[in-house]
Symmetry: C2
Subunit: 315 residues, 2 copies
């Protein structure tokens, strides 16, 4: 089987006219690094799970994306992160939500999948589990980022919540607000197995321990070798109410839609009608893939065996 790896770094009102050339290059460069980190795994026969973890770790370790190091600040000036992963071969899944001190939340979600009897662990309990598993912790100074902190203060000043990628520092209210800098990856490995994973820092200025679609199996992440592997990004509440990631699988399984038909129907029709902004990446066992979004842009990239990697930001 020929491997495929697709990644995203969030969708939103990302406009070329609002982005400096050097910043654009930084994003493209980090996306390329993420593709290479994942491809390295796939090339030497490692699993789709290994590949999505490696790709996401690269983006979590970058301050550019709203996940891991680059996580935005909550109303209380904390960073609260969510992540989930699913193995399309076994339907095993793992997820963490509301974690504050984990360097790589997605790697902990993988430990939940592989070393616990559970699917989802939350908050301090999840951190206690991570500690017992020997996962890497990071303190507030690691997550501190002057730009993110300014974003919070701008958001507080205007009592709005802020769209992370709405231009550069552009403020938007947007139906109660949504953060669009989630990262995700889906992979098909040389054994013919798939995996999907998603990681996020949530929403600038968020209150009340809000959880979005990212740690929800079926909404933000889903993988099943028989249908598809999916990672979503966008206005999370819409993705939760529409159970988007599993809906991709159900449309292919029960209605015999192709990957492309399923993604077009959900992102361009169903969500658009409701005003749900966002996008998804997905692939199937045949190596077909989609990067579908109804916003101005989505940080994204794909690499396939025998092809050069491609990274893009705008439509």
């Amino acid at each position: 089987m020929k491997y495929v790896l697709v990644i995203h770094g969030g969708s939103g009102t990302i406009l070329k006219e609002n982005m400096s050339a050097s910043r654009e290059q930084d994003y493209l460069h980090t996306l390329e690094n993420a593709l290479q980190a994942g491809e390295k795994m796939l090339k030497c026969g490692q699993t789709a799970v290994d590949a999505v973890e490696a790709a996401i770790k690269t983006m979590e370790d970058s301050p550019l994306f709203n996940a891991g190091k680059g996580a935005v600040f909550t109303h209380d000036e904390k960073n609260e992160m969510d992540a989930s992963i699913m193995d399309g071969r076994t339907l095993a899944a793992g997820s963490v939500s509301g974690v504050r001190r984990l360097k790589n939340p997605l790697s902990v979600a993988r430990k939940v999948m592989e070393n616990s009897a559970h699917v989802m662990l939350a908050g301090e309990g999840a951190e206690q589990f991570a500690k017992e598993q020997g996962c890497e912790f990071a303190d507030a100074s690691y997550f501190y980022n002057e730009e993110r902190f300014q974003q919070l203060h701008e958001a507080k000043k205007s009592e709005k919540v802020m769209l992370d990628h709405s231009g550069e520092n552009e403020m938007t209210d947007h139906n109660g607000g949504e953060m669009l800098g989630t990262v995700g990856a889906v992979a098909l490995d040389t054994h013919g197995n798939t995996a999907a994973a998603t990681s996020t820092g949530g929403m600038t200025n968020k209150k009340f321990g809000r959880i979005g679609d990212t740690p929800i199996i079926g909404s933000g992440t889903y993988a099943n070798d028989d249908t598809c592997a999916v990672s979503c990004t966008g206005h999370g509440e819409y993705f939760m109410r529409n159970v988007v990631a599993y809906d991709m699988s159900a449309l292919m399984d029960y209605k015999k839609y192709t990957l492309q038909q399923a993604a077009d129907f959900i992102i361009q029709e169903k969500l658009k009608k409701q005003g749900g902004e966002g996008g998804l990446i997905a692939l199937d066992r045949e190596g077909n893939y989609v990067m579908n979004f109804n916003t101005a842009g989505m940080y994204r990239g794909v690499i396939r065996e025998g092809h050069e990697g491609k990274v893009k930001i705008f439509k």
Copy 2:
């Protein structure tokens, strides 16, 4: 339209030979009270959302079920509760997870649905929201229950987790363990609209802030007037990986299964093959309903306009 209300109080290894006659009567009586509380709403033209909330509040206020007052103890001798609700008319949804001091978690989930921009709020943040909404709080003494506390100590002694309804005080290990005393309700109101809701106290002796399927829209709860309203109970991890509640809707929408066919396929085939124990209640706009489980018993009841209410426990 003729109204219908279906409720459950959890499924599991509930055997007649393990239950005293007086305890059986207590359960049946509380189920009847829950049906009456919901029917009262439906009779005077209130919504399906009102009916499922009223029915669940009755069960949350009883010490018999593992939700609200009867919530089991975590490893740390705390009560951590989850709940979710969905309005089939609008697809609006609300959920809380890991809350410790809320008297009626399901009523707070409804506030999240109606008075916030979000779908899911967690932990202390959810409690802060509940406070601002004027919801009722309860302290540890309200949730204290000698029998539950003994269950925790028995579970700790054997380093096992305990199935709440596995006979009376029977201990089971069971793949890392699962608590099966969740409560739920689905309703069709006289306006032809549906709603679904589920509430739980989680798992005896649980650690690490584990979250099950109950607060997950698409897994534990889902409602859509065009297909069905569903509330699940059982070994949560299986219900999460299989996105059970939304799968009911997808099978009806995309594969044109009847409510009965969809429930039989998921509970008796798909989950059974995987070893996933549990059940669900569901209804559609035509007034069809199912109470389907692959365990020895499920606390359950149904009441329809023009019919006597029926409550049952065993197969």
